[in-house]
């Protein structure tokens, strides 16, 4: 066994997986990764099941040190500068930390959450089939709380498997898609239009429980108290002050505010990865389109193993880029964090 020690870590970082399903009827919060695609990509890179537990790293950075042997990990999600002793480490790729080496991840450069998956997974005691941290209920394993410097994980010794990268589809941009309802009839047409046609920003006071939206106040037809009913990930409830809240993975299982719309499954991770202060819009889609997108999203998760590539091919890309530079193209830099070409202003 090796150990992976948390050398440093910012707030809002915790062990998360596919979530704690099956006990919402008892008020048990689901929790789980804010961005399931990135969790699944990181896990797939190190041979784990897509929704195995991994470390969800919040917007601030983190560093991890291998002890008592080598540890193989992979990172995916919000892009960051990452390095081992000054050598850049790629996002969406696996890497092996030799005994004593430290992987350092910087601030998220866009987005919020990055996933560090560990080969062989995280060892812990599942509750309702999940290791996901739900700090309010004291659940999660091996630490039932956000991670702190000094925490450590007992992990499998690195297998020595060749390093891989994963080719993810180009990130979708554009509005966050929603289905209206379940209580859109608690709002008149002009307020529904205001919700769909306005620009929104995510407030800095948001957390894993809910993303508070800044924009125009949405007015209710009959006041803001409804008899509590069930919530889902992505429910957008409108409390008395008219400022909508998108309920995220640590949501309560029921709520008493009218819910104007629900973010579609395929876009919840995208909403989760929208940084505070970034302007965005919503767009209403039909049930048929939302369910079609949900099926495509499930298919994408299933297809992740087919998207693995040998890491060697990355070196070729760098050569191609340097050729491009030689040829006088306006390729100014290769971003060590993402291997994407960044345009300088």
């Amino acid at each position: 066994m090796s150990r992976l020690v948390v050398a440093s870590i910012g707030p809002a970082s915790s062990v998360q997986d596919g979530g704690r399903l099956g006990a919402q009827r008892y008020g048990l919060t689901v929790s789980g990764a804010m961005d399931r695609l990135s969790l699944a990509a990181a896990n797939t890179l190190v041979g784990n099941e897509p929704f195995a537990a991994a470390i969800e790293i919040g917007p601030v950075g983190a560093s991890f040190t291998a002890r008592d042997g080598a540890v193989r990990v992979a990172i995916s999600g919000a892009p960051r500068n990452a390095d081992i002793a000054g050598s850049p480490v790629a996002m969406d790729a696996s890497v092996t930390l030799k005994d004593g080496e430290t992987l350092t991840l910087g601030f998220a450069r866009g987005g919020a959450f990055t996933y560090l998956a560990i080969e062989g997974g995280i060892k812990g005691e599942p509750v309702f089939g999940s290791l996901a941290v739900n700090a309010r209920a004291g659940l999660g394993s091996p630490y039932p709380r956000p991670l702190q410097a000094g925490d450590e994980f007992s992990v499998d010794a690195a297998s020595g498997a060749p390093e891989l990268r994963i080719e993810l589809p180009k990130p979708v941009s554009g509005p966050i898609r929603v289905l209206l309802g379940p209580q859109d009839d608690e709002f008149d047409d002009s307020n529904k239009a205001l919700f769909l046609e306005s620009e929104w920003k995510i407030s800095a006071t948001s957390d894993r429980m809910g993303y508070r939206l800044e924009g125009p106040a949405i007015k209710h037809l009959h006041g803001h108290n409804i008899v509590s009913d069930g919530t889902v990930n992505g429910s957008i409830q409108v409390p008395g002050n008219g400022a909508p809240i998108a309920l995220m993975m640590d949501r309560g299982t029921s709520g008493g505010y009218p819910k104007i719309a629900t973010v579609i499954t395929a876009d919840i991770g995208r909403l989760a990865q929208t940084s505070a202060g970034t302007a965005f819009r919503f767009k209403a889609v039909s049930m048929a389109e939302a369910q079609d997108e949900a099926r495509k999203f499930a298919q994408l998760i299933r297809s992740l193993p087919d998207r693995l590539r040998s890491s060697d091919t990355v070196a070729l890309n760098i050569e191609a880029l340097s050729d491009a530079n030689v040829a006088g193209y306006a390729v100014s830099a290769v971003d060590a964090g993402t291997w994407q070409v960044t345009a300088e202003p």
């Binding site: 006990a23 919402q24 009827r25 008892y26 309010r136 659940l139 379940p182 008899v227 889902v232």
Partner: protein, 243 residues
């Protein structure tokens, strides 16, 4: 009777859940229908349903859209929900001990004042009620009870408290509640119970189920301490009444 029941509304809750709404208000018949549909689904599961969440007036049905589409599921749910209510079966009945007032029920005196009566009278009216667990939600084990004496209906506090203790027994609006974990609350705190409706390593982890009946009885603060220690050690300490 059954013929006069209106069909429920199907409210889409995103692409992977649907709310089957029987009423917009707190209504005992609606709650019976919610629990009947929940039971019917447990007895003959529909492929693709992953989880159900009963509430006062609606059943939230989580499903996998890869396994069943909204329209097909909706038809099946409406067909099941349209069936006559099954005869009322004997529900489980719990007697829950409560230490009223003092540090355990900091709002008891104010509630008594607001209702022009004495704390003892409030205790009698609260403990004398015959309640039903209408739903469990918000935080693990938080049991929302219907059946609160009409004379105890009062609006919630103007400003919710950010933290109220584990085991709080409270009232808010037309509802009564058993709260398990420490949590924010805008309800009026009448007392505390040593009973854990949720305890992780106990069997059962969750004590109450929607549909269970509940009554309360007063205990003194010393008994509370004793029962609290026993409960901490994993005892249930609520009395189950055998009918």
């Amino acid at each position: 009777m059954a013929a006069t029941l209106l069909p429920p509304r199907l409210l889409p809750s995103g692409d992977s859940a649907v709310t089957v709404e029987f009423s917009r208000t707190i209504d005992d018949v609606a709650n019976q229908r919610v629990l009947a549909l929940d039971k019917a689904l447990a007895a003959s599961p529909i492929e693709g349903i992953t989880e159900t969440v009963p509430t006062y007036r609606s059943l939230l049905v989580h499903y996998d859209p890869c396994a069943i589409a909204f329209d097909a599921l909706g038809e099946k749910l409406l067909a099941l929900a349209g069936q006559p209510l099954p005869p009322v079966t004997k529900a489980r009945r719990w007697r829950i001990p409560v230490a009223y007032g003092g540090e355990h029920g900091i709002d008891l005196e104010d509630v008594a004042k607001a209702l022009n009566t004495t704390p003892d009278d409030i205790i009698a009216r609260h403990a004398g009620g015959d309640y039903k667990v209408a739903m469990i939600g918000f935080t693990p084990g938080w049991s929302y009870l219907s059946g609160l004496d009409k004379s105890l209906h009062m609006s919630r506090r103007q400003s919710p408290r950010l933290l109220t203790p584990a085991g709080t027994i409270s009232i808010g609006g037309v509802q009564a509640g058993i709260q398990c974990l420490a949590a924010p609350s805008g309800w009026h705190l009448l007392g505390r119970t040593p009973v854990r409706t949720y305890q992780l390593h106990r069997n059962p982890t969750f004590l109450t189920e929607p549909g269970d009946r509940v009554t309360f009885f007063a205990i003194d603060h010393k008994t509370f301490e004793e029962l609290d220690r026993a409960a901490e050690a994993g005892e249930i300490v609520a009395e189950q009444v055998v009918a």
